[in-house]
Amino acid sequence: MTMKTTLMGAAAALAMTATGALADGPAIIFDLGGKFDRSFNEAAFNGAELWASETGGTYREIELTSDAQREQAMRRLAEAGANPIVMAGFSQATPLSVVAPDYPDTTFVIIDGVVDAPNVRSVIFSEHEGSYLVGMLAAMASETGTVSFVGGMDIPLISRFACGYAQGAAAVNGDIKVIANMTGTTPSAWNDPVRGGELTRGQIAQGSDVVFAAAGGTGLGVLQVATDEGIFSIGVDSNQNYLHPGSVLTSMLKRVDVAVHDAFTTGAEVATGIHVFGLAEEGVGYALDENNAELITAEMQAAVDTARAAIIAGEIKVHNFTDDGTCPVQMQ
């Protein structure tokens, strides 16, 4: 067993020597959706690139291609002296909880996951609040009274998106029908645009005319089908309005780039513990730019901005699915 572990470690180390030999800089690990998923990982990448262009510094990166590499990637970066090490994606939480105690002098930053260790900064976004706002927009743009949601992998985090979206839609129209589907139960669900498109067609067939995709690379297939079928879609994480101008109603922004940029800028001294990025911190929100300016009317914008202020002030409570695993709004 020990022999096997050593051999595997050696093989992984060999495989990763290509990442370059730079000591002490920050490092980032991208999740399985891939660095250029136009969504979650790309937002993380943009944050790192922003830091690099501001400071002229360089950083190390590893793009995971399979689940088995997670722990080895972390150890490899930590042993090479990278600090802090930022990792994007909830799937990193379990391996990080094993790795973090072994490198007490290295600061780890995990986005979307919580690891209870003194040298880990856990960054959590209030996706339910951002999703609530785009849910309101969806309900106001819908003519059929049916809106839908396509999630990536079936995990509580994605249900948090779905539940926030459904609550926002129900706040505008109490009779609204919300259809929610998940693409799959394995990490490959983040990268299956064909299945995403098929799910969207099924939802359109059930009457949906606004679809919200929170599915990484799978979402590209969702947005494409929505454009082909002439309905509205809502992008996620990054601003995806530019992908299909006129069809993408808005995007639920999750400022992963800000979280990465913050960590890189502060460096190894970044504060550890749990940090929540919500509406008040501009960590989540909805995207408004020249591509969707004509789709969002002034009254829609006013309604959403009012709700946003109310959520920040605590007058509207958006239920967080991960608190108790239930959603107050019924989804189909």
Partner: protein
């Protein structure tokens, strides 16, 4: 469940069955000539990549299709060279092709486009548009207003990409060539008893290469369909095991073209049902989504184990032909 829902599931079935059908027919051609081909998956993948990449750079989906077919034929030729000319093991050659394709497509994609092993998103000119037959409604909302006949016409018959109709046309074509022409007779004979064909003075090597190349063309179309019709661009491992499901369908179909059509439609149907019905609620009990998504594969096992009956592959399949001297 209303009539339109059934139609929509059937519509989805046709879309999902098309790549299976093309790959299954490719396998049929190859295996009928006595060359086992488990490299269907790899050929589809490489074709999917080149079709998307060339369609993106040239802006023409047809040029992309040709590039996809060409790439698939190169791999088919490689398979032919290894297993016909050099009499290597056909299964090993097929496995090698699958690995080669999975790695090659991603590496080339990364070098050309630097987007993490995928191609850029294709514009509508660089994709196969859906063909709207005359008088058919296009949007699902309009279709819902029509009567049953109109719905069947608009939803199920119209509105597919040209490759879907092409794939369906390949079924009678394959049947006719294999069972009604001299070339087809010889090709089937090569898969059963190559020595007899050789005695008659017909080139076994030539016929087998022809079959392998035809398989290459069909896999090429299947791959191009995945990346330029079903979705818009290539992503890593996008064939997602369809080449292997096509092989299962081929065995289920007992190496016959019309049976292949029904087998592929059946597997496509399982997939469509799994996509459509994710959260079925039976009273208090909710069928988990995991079960619905595993359903196609469970049914494949049940069908292959229980319903297929006796499937006899071509007799000379898998064996390189050596002339006796």
């Amino acid at each position: 469940m209303d009539f339109l829902t059934i139609l929509q599931i059937l519509d989805s079935t046709v879309r999902l069955a098309t790549p299976l059908l093309l790959a299954c027919l490719a396998g049929l051609w190859s295996e009928r000539a006595g060359i086992f081909d488990i490299g269907l998956e790899g050929k589809m993948l490489v074709a999917a990549f080149f079709a998307a990449a060339i369609a993106y750079t040239s802006g023409s989906v047809w040029v992309g299709l040709l590039a996809g077919i060409a790439a698939s034929m190169v791999l088919a030729l490689l398979h032919g060279l290894a297993s016909i000319t050099f009499r290597g093991n056909q299964l090993i050659s097929g496995v090698a092709i699958n690995f080669l394709a999975a790695g090659l497509a991603v590496v080339i994609a990364q070098t050309w486009f630097a987007q993490g092993g995928r191609t850029p998103q294709l514009s509508s000119d660089a994709r196969f548009a859906n063909i709207e037959l005359p008088g058919a409604a296009t949007r699902i909302r309009d279709i819902a207003q029509q009567g049953p006949l109109g719905q069947t016409y608009s939803e199920l018959i119209s509105g597919h990409s040209i490759l879907v109709y092409l794939a369906l046309a390949c079924v009678p074509l394959t049947w006719w060539v294999l069972y009604r022409t001299r070339f087809g007779l010889r090709l089937r004979a090569v898969g059963e008893n190559p020595a007899a064909v050789d005695t008659a003075g017909v080139s076994v090597v030539g016929l087998r290469f022809a079959a392998v190349l035809i398989a290459g063309v069909l896999c090429g179309i299947a791959g191009a369909y995945l990346s330029t019709a079903l979705s818009s661009g290539f992503v890593k491992d996008m064939s997602a095991g369809r080449g292997f499901i096509a092989l299962a369908a081929l065995i289920f179909a007992k190496w016959r073209p019309w049976y292949a059509l029904s087998a592929c439609l059946l597997f496509g149907f399982f997939d469509a049902v799994g996509n459509r019905y994710q959260n079925i609620q039976l009273g208090e009990f909710i069928v988990p989504v995991q079960f619905m998504q595993a359903l196609p594969y469970i049914l494949v096992v049940i069908v292959l184990a229980g319903l297929v009956g006796k499937a006899i592959p071509p007799r000379a399949g898998g064996e390189p032909y050596v002339k006796e001297r």
